[in-house]
Symmetry: C2
């Protein structure tokens, strides 16, 4: 089986899990359920839950306890995009060729749909308690989800990103934004996989180091694609960073150096992944794909 075939099968499995926990569109608050489901079904790579599942399997996790957390992670990621797109934020009417949540349901429902997805994420993750696994690990995973989504994670990164819009960034500021805005949820995804599989403290630490590198390299690749890809390939406008005068790894270091940095980070991640004992064939290919992807 080629990587592409295997990836498609895995993606279907992840999609089914993300879909299964969505609320039924019924009752007085039907509109918010519709807005949530619309947002989640608008698609995406489902990268975070896939990384979570593969890391869980790397440590020989075999229970379904990972599933509510996979869904929860995707709901938080989706909620953050819903808020990012709002008129008072990035004011985007389209994402991946589809109307954004607020442009279908209104600004007020856009705010509430994001909020709803955040709460629903913790509600869904909470279903992992009493699933015949160590509840202490579930608690740890839930706390980590909160920390990495919040002000010391994703939301903290977004704040600095929003605040610095239109201003030139120093290297340390750019790195901070990348590590938090993109990196934190990738770290949380892989670490939660390890925690729920009852990995050792040391192994969880190694997973964190892998995920840090993957997150940063993933974002650098985004910067590179913005200058090297075409709108057709990418499914979104290219050269947008230049137009918006955005500081990126490419504007700061040049395309070649950015590519070298990304490759280096990938190597470091793979090296650490190989130092762990589990079966890592697909996960390794997945990391390579994410960081060398063309769209």
């Amino acid at each position: 089986m080629t990587f592409d075939e295997e990836y498609r099968i895995k993606l279907e499995e992840v999609e089914e899990i993300v879909e299964r926990y969505l609320p039924r569109e019924e009752g007085y608050q039907k509109t918010i359920f519709s807005a949530m489901n619309y947002s989640v079904r608008a698609g995406g790579k489902r990268l975070r839950p896939m990384l979570m599942l593969e890391t869980y399997r790397l440590f020989d996790g075999r229970s379904r306890v990972i599933e509510p957390f996979m869904a929860a992670m995707e709901y938080i990621h989706t909620g953050s995009l819903v808020h990012d797109d709002l008129p008072c934020m990035d004011n985007d009417e389209y994402r991946r060729g589809k109307k954004t949540t607020w442009s279908v349901f209104g600004d007020d429902m856009g705010v509430l749909a994001g909020d709803a997805l955040f709460f629903y994420a913790f509600e869904t993750a909470g279903k992992a308690f009493d699933m015949n696994v160590n509840n202490n690990n579930v608690g740890k995973a839930m706390s980590l989800l909160a920390v990495k989504s919040g002000v010391y994670g994703m939301a903290g990164g977004q704040t600095v990103d929003v605040e610095m819009t239109g201003k030139a960034l120093r290297k340390d500021q750019l790195r901070f934004i990348y590590e938090l805005k993109t990196g934190a949820l990738i770290e949380a995804s892989m670490m939660i996989g390890a925690i729920l599989a009852d990995a050792s403290r040391e192994d969880i630490r190694t997973v964190e180091q892998i995920a840090k590198r993957v997150g940063l390299a993933f974002q650098i690749q985004d910067d590179i694609l913005d200058v090297t890809s075409t709108t057709e390939e990418l499914g979104k406008p290219v050269h947008s960073d230049e137009k918006n005068a955005k500081t990126t790894y490419v504007t700061l270091f040049g395309q070649e150096q950015a590519g070298i940095r990304s490759g280096l980070l990938l190597n470091e991640a793979i090296e650490r992944l190989d130092s762990l004992t589990g079966e890592n064939r697909f996960l390794k290919q997945l990391l390579e794909y994410l960081i060398t992807r063309k769209k």
Copy 2:
């Protein structure tokens, strides 16, 4: 000691706990920390954490495990007000005589500050794990916090409230909004107090019944005060429901019937509270105060 004196002492205790868990305003994401702290420090009755603490004590809870949950509850309540006030929601520039978060920090930071408070609430509640109590109870409390904040709780109620703005409500719709928008967090507060004090399933169920009645009566009293109070007493404009053509218990049933209904709910709550074995003197006075308050 009069109730007022005792209440002030308890309020100080609650304020100290809510304050203690706030983030330090430092680092790259300083602005979001400032916006969060500004929002929380803008004040309020701290009703929810106080109810949580008193219910915890009713069941003889004696550990500090309740404290992170008290703070978490107030952060969620605050975050929901921050989002409610946004230009694309209620568009309020002032709350309790102070500038609202978005009108100080901008709309974009208003959205992010609400989000940040939500995540920070779960982050804070998560600190209760490994505080030498039953981690299963902490997990239950965290799940309940998510459920009662989300689409089957507060956020669900807000959705219907926003959607029905300017439209006449049926009785069942009004009740749904009150039970979810106001009631759900009051239920969560009292139930989490009981859960963390390791109360029995049956007692937690009784607490839920008490809290349901308190939440509804509290909201009906709000409706009554809007027609009977003065702007000076209330600290916010009165007769606002009439001006906004809002359906309330007073517009649906008349002021007298609304008062009778609220009194009945209070009696039912007190009756159930008396059926529990703990020391309930202050809690009983607190419920009476909340439901017969003049502001």
